[in-house]
């Protein structure tokens, strides 16, 4: 696989998740703090396997969101006693989740209506 093809594939996934990835991460952290792999598994579980989040998208998103102040991270022990970095929502993150959820609701409703019409 050449570099270009690799890039293209990554880009497709990113595009698919664009905008929704942030929301999915926030949603997956709504109940408890989690490490990277946990988040990615949780998203798979929430979407019944529709979204598979690759580390190449996940980590940049996590770091960006942390810089935005929606998440905070801390080192801790994983379920198998491994050192892992755990992320958890801040108040701002929770607010962001709410507004993203509302926005998503509006958009999906609008799209559903648009598709039903004709």
């Amino acid at each position: 696989m050449t570099r270009d093809q690799m890039n293209d594939q990554l880009n497709d996934q990113t595009n698919l998740l664009q905008g929704t990835l942030d929301m999915m991460i926030l949603k997956s952290l709504a109940l408890d703090q989690m490490h990277g792999l946990g988040i990615s598994r949780r998203i798979e579980q929430l979407t019944k396997g529709t979204f598979q989040v690759k580390p190449g998208s996940l980590f940049p998103a996590l770091h960006r969101m942390e810089e935005e102040g929606w998440l905070v991270s801390s080192w801790g022990e994983s379920e198998n006693n491994r050192r892992a970095k755990f992320y958890r929502l801040t108040r701002a993150g929770r607010r962001q989740l709410n507004s993203e959820t509302q926005r998503w609701g509006r958009i999906s409703l609008a799209i559903a209506r648009a598709l039903e019409a004709s």
Binding site: T2, R3, D4, M6, N7, L10, H35, G36, L37, K54, P55, G56, F59, P60, A61, H63, R64, E66, E67, E68, G69, W70, S78, N80, R82, R83, A84, K85, A92
Partner: protein, 882 residues
């Protein structure tokens, strides 16, 4: 809140980068291990689990790089990184960096300097409010420019409708005696509207009025700001005060503003009205009918120079009875009209344009060279790019890195370039021939510098980025396999083309420089007609009322001469009204021979000399006798004529005993008593000038300024103080100026050519060096790239000599191709500099052959080193893997 956290991480990313990086590494690796554990739990073998996990992850380094790029402050961080890396790369190849930076600096600096000079002189408008409307008007003397007469000026201003204002002027160099010691000032006598034509006025005081210009009005002057400060202590009460100039009282009426550039007389300090007599129009020997005035006019806004020329030429063609004309100012050929700017730059325009062309070639060569260097380096770094790409560097990131490096190079070159430009401008101004106008206004032009920097930077950027594009496009797998030293054929071809271009451009420059050099050689081989060595010359003026009497003036010069001849070290001395190779301009008079048809007249140079002048100059006598002490006022007027005049007027006769008038025709005839050798009057390039020599005693007027020539036994320059003291022992108040050796005057007459030559030589040398570097770079690169091939050749039995020949042949064939192409360019370029050439054809074969030989020699040297290296390649290299 988010803002603050972003700021916080921004600073952490920048300043605690190392820590943040390790953190990230731990995190991603942790993820990979957990993933692998998960797979093991699902039943995979540990090895398989790790492999699947790492495939799914897509590479730890790639993920880290993606996170880094998403981080706050990533751009700044990577900029620092790029800069650091760039500097390290530049330091790693100091030779290449130095060559590239020097090339850029020279290209940018020289261009900026030359463009700054040319722009100021030729293109920037003159510092006057309506500079584009100021025209200069000349009497047309069979196509060449002749100063107008005062009465012609009067007729034009009275009849023409094209002028808003018009003025005539001549130089005036009064002796100021009010100060402690006599001081000769530079100035101009001008008609009243002079400053209105230029559109300037005095800083304080008043401008000239028409009434100041009347021949019987009180004498007034306007002085320059500089003179006001240096001689009058910037005293504001100067206006209304009287100063003594040439023994007469002048009232100061105004002071000009500071920093005023008077392009018609850059060193002028005083201006006075011309005060010519308008009534003596029928008196043909009056000064008002002499061709000695420069005319300038401010055209009306709606009148172009062309339109004005048409109108005044119609006036020239239709005389009216109100303005009678004399035969020598009949205006039968009309006028020549030019803008003031074109007029003052006319003499230097060819040289400056040639320099502009030459320095553009230098810039081109610099660009070619930098491109070549960067391409070569790109080729060598091909492996590096492939490797970085494999390690997760995005294409954008690599391009940015290379851009940073190229920009670094350009910035270094630019900084040095500023220095080069500053020094070159200073050097140029210092080196410039005196006829170069407006040198005081020349400074480094920022816009030009930015342009030159921009052009080279853009070319550097393009050349620098190509390797990154090539590398990032390539198949990683193949790239890694041959990541060592191979380059694509395309690159080699580009670099070969560039070398050919460099050689061709260098040839053009070198041929031009060679032609100029050969011309100057020829020029100095021209005999001036006298022996210039050991001659010192100076000008003595008589000033003050005492010398209104021509006999007093003649007596003064005779006494001064006698005193000078007594100075130890003086072998011979004599005065002449006209000195070859000096700035003397007004020596031409009409000569009419006895058997000429009435009205016919030859233009000749009149030399009114003291006996001994021709002997001092060592002008050879061809027939008859020279002038001597017996040719005094009361004796029969005697004259010598030059060989050229004798041959033209008396081709089959003996000129001795023939008679002629020179100047006015109502005076007694001069009898020709001798024929002397031809002397070049204005420059070595001029044809033989027809000349008539008479004694100043027998001249119809006494010249108030005479040039003294002294032949010294020893060093001529060191005699000057003693000569000056000798003249001042007769009269302390008489100004002595223009002290120079005759050899200096000769050199100065070729100053413009020399100026052009020095620069062309400099450019030629730069071009030669750059072309040599180019050839060397390409061959050296290709030897490195072909190491394996050369090794195989020598393993198969090729001798060292064969291999050297292989490399040298390649270099020389590139050179030969460049030379062939360059010859066409050189032929075109030499056509452009044809006005600067002298005595040789623009296709001078000697010059062409010499330049080709020089280029061949330099390229041979440039080939030799890589060839030698190639011949040392160990055949065993073929056994090693690449």
């Amino acid at each position: 809140m988010p803002k603050i956290s972003r700021m916080k991480t921004f600073f952490r990313n920048i300043f605690a980068k190392h820590h943040a990086d390790r953190d990230l590494d731990d995190e991603v690796r942790g993820y990979a291990e957990m993933l692998a554990e998960e797979k093991t739990r699902e039943g995979m073998s540990p090895d398989e689990a790790r492999r699947t996990a790492s495939l799914e992850l897509g590479g730890v380094e790639q993920v880290k790089e993606q996170v880094r790029e998403a981080r706050a402050g990533a751009w700044l961080d990577s900029l620092f990184q790029d800069l650091r890396f760039g500097l390290r790369m530049l330091r790693k190849s100091p030779g290449l960096t130095a060559v590239a930076v020097l090339t850029l600096a020279l290209g940018i600096g020289m261009n900026t300097a030359i463009f700054s000079v040319v722009d100021t002189i030729l293109f920037k408008s003159l510092p006057y409010p309506h500079s584009n409307r100021i025209a200069v008007i000349w009497d047309n003397s069979e196509g060449s420019r002749l100063e107008v007469t005062f009465h012609t000026f009067r007729e034009l201003t009275a009849r023409s409708r094209s002028f808003e204002a018009a003025s005539v002027l001549k130089t005036w160099q009064p002796n100021m005696t009010s100060a402690a010691q006599p001081d000769r000032l530079d100035g101009q006598s001008v008609s009243a509207d002079y400053f209105r034509v230029l559109g300037i006025g005095p800083a304080f005081g008043r401008d000239f009025q028409p009434s100041d210009d009347a021949s019987d009005s009180p004498k007034v002057v306007i002085i320059s700001y500089g003179l006001w400060r240096s001689h009058f202590g910037a005293d504001v009460t100067i206006v209304g005060r009287q100063i003594t100039l040439d023994g007469e009282l002048y009232t100061v009426i105004g002071v000009l503003p500071p920093q005023l550039e008077t392009v018609l007389a850059p060193s002028a300090q005083v201006w006075t009205p011309l005060r010519y007599d308008t009534r003596n129009i029928t008196a043909s020997d009056a000064v008002e009918w002499g061709h000695h005035l420069r005319m300038v006019a401010l055209l009306r806004p709606d009148i172009s120079a062309k339109k004005a020329a048409r109108e005044i030429n119609e006036i020239a063609a239709s005389p009216v009875s109100e303005f009678p004309r004399v035969p020598w100012a009949s205006l039968e050929n009309g006028f020549l009209v030019d803008s003031l700017q074109a007029d003052v730059t006319r003499g230097v325009r060819p040289a400056l344009l040639a320099l502009l062309g030459a320095v553009t070639l230098v810039l081109l060569i610099a660009c070619v060279n930098v491109t070549n260097l960067l391409l070569a380096r790109g080729a060598q770094r091909h492996g590096e790019f492939v490797m970085r790409s494999a390690l997760g560097a995005g294409r954008a990131r690599m391009i940015r890195q290379l851009l940073t490096e190229s920009l670094l190079l350009s910035a270094l070159g630019g900084v040095l370039g500023i220095l080069v430009a500053e020094m070159s401008v200073k050097g140029l101004v210092g080196l410039s021939p005196s006829e170069l106008p407006r040198t005081s206004a020349i400074s480094v032009n920022g816009a030009v510098f930015a342009f030159a920097l921009g052009v080279t930077a853009i070319i550097g950027l393009l050349a620098g980025v190509i390797p990154a594009l090539v590398a990032s496009r390539e198949d990683l797998h193949v790239g890694l396999q041959e990541a060592s030293v191979r380059t694509s054929k395309g690159h080699q071809l580009t670099r070969n083309v560039l070398v050919v271009a460099e050689v061709a451009l260098a040839l053009v420059l070198l041929v031009s420089a060679g032609l100029l050099l050969h011309s100057l050689d020829r020029l100095f081989a021209v005999a001036p007609g006298f022996n210039s060595s050991h001659l010192v010359t100076l000008q003595v003026q008589t000033s003050g009322h005492r010398y209104d009497d021509p006999d007093a003036s003649r007596l003064f010069f005779a006494q001064a001469l006698a005193e000078v001849r007594r100075v130890p070290g003086v072998a011979a001395a004599g005065f002449s009204s006209l000195l070859p190779f000096s700035a003397d301009q007004f020596g031409a008079y009409g000569a009419q021979f006895e058997n000429d048809s009435p009205g016919a007249s030859d233009e000749v140079f009149r030399y009114a000399v003291t006996p001994g002048y021709l002997e001092t100059m060592e002008i050879p006598l061809r027939r008859g006798r020279l002038l001597d002490e017996h040719d005094i006022t009361t004796a029969a007027p005697a004259a010598l004529i030059s060989e050229s005049l004798a041959r033209r007027k008396f081709p089959h006769q003996d000129p001795i005993g023939k008679r002629l008038h020179i100047g006015p025709t109502d005076k007694p005839w001069y009898t020709i008593v001798g024929v002397v050798g031809n002397v070049k009057q204005s420059s070595l390039t001029a044809g033989d000038s027809d000349a008539v020599y008479i004694t100043s005693a027998q001249s119809w007027f006494a010249d108030d300024a005479m040039s003294l020539v002294v032949r010294a036994r020893g060093n001529p320059a060191s005699l000057a103080p003693a000569i000056r003291a000798a003249i001042w022992s007769i009269d302390k108040g008489q100004p002595i100026t223009r002290v120079a050796t005759m050899d200096d005057l000769l050199a100065a007459s070729a100053a413009q050519r020399r100026f052009a030559l020095v620069l062309f030589e400099a450019f030629g040398v730069v071009a030669l060096i750059l072309a040599g570097c180019g050839i060397y770079g390409v061959l050296s690169g290709s030897v490195t790239e072909r190491t394996r091939e050369i090794g195989i050749r020598s393993a198969l039995g090729a001798s060292q000599r064969n291999i050297m020949a292989l490399v040298i042949r390649r270099g020389l064939s590139l050179t030969a191709l460049g030379v062939v192409i360059g010859l066409f360019g050189a032929a075109a370029a030499s056509h452009a500099i044809v006005t600067l050439l002298f005595g040789i054809s623009q296709l001078d074969p000697i010059t062409y052959l010499a330049v080709i030989a020089l280029l061949a020699l330099v390229s041979g040297l440039a080939c030799w080193m890589p060839a030698w290296r190639a011949s040392r390649i160990d055949p065993a290299i073929t056994l090693r893997p690449e």
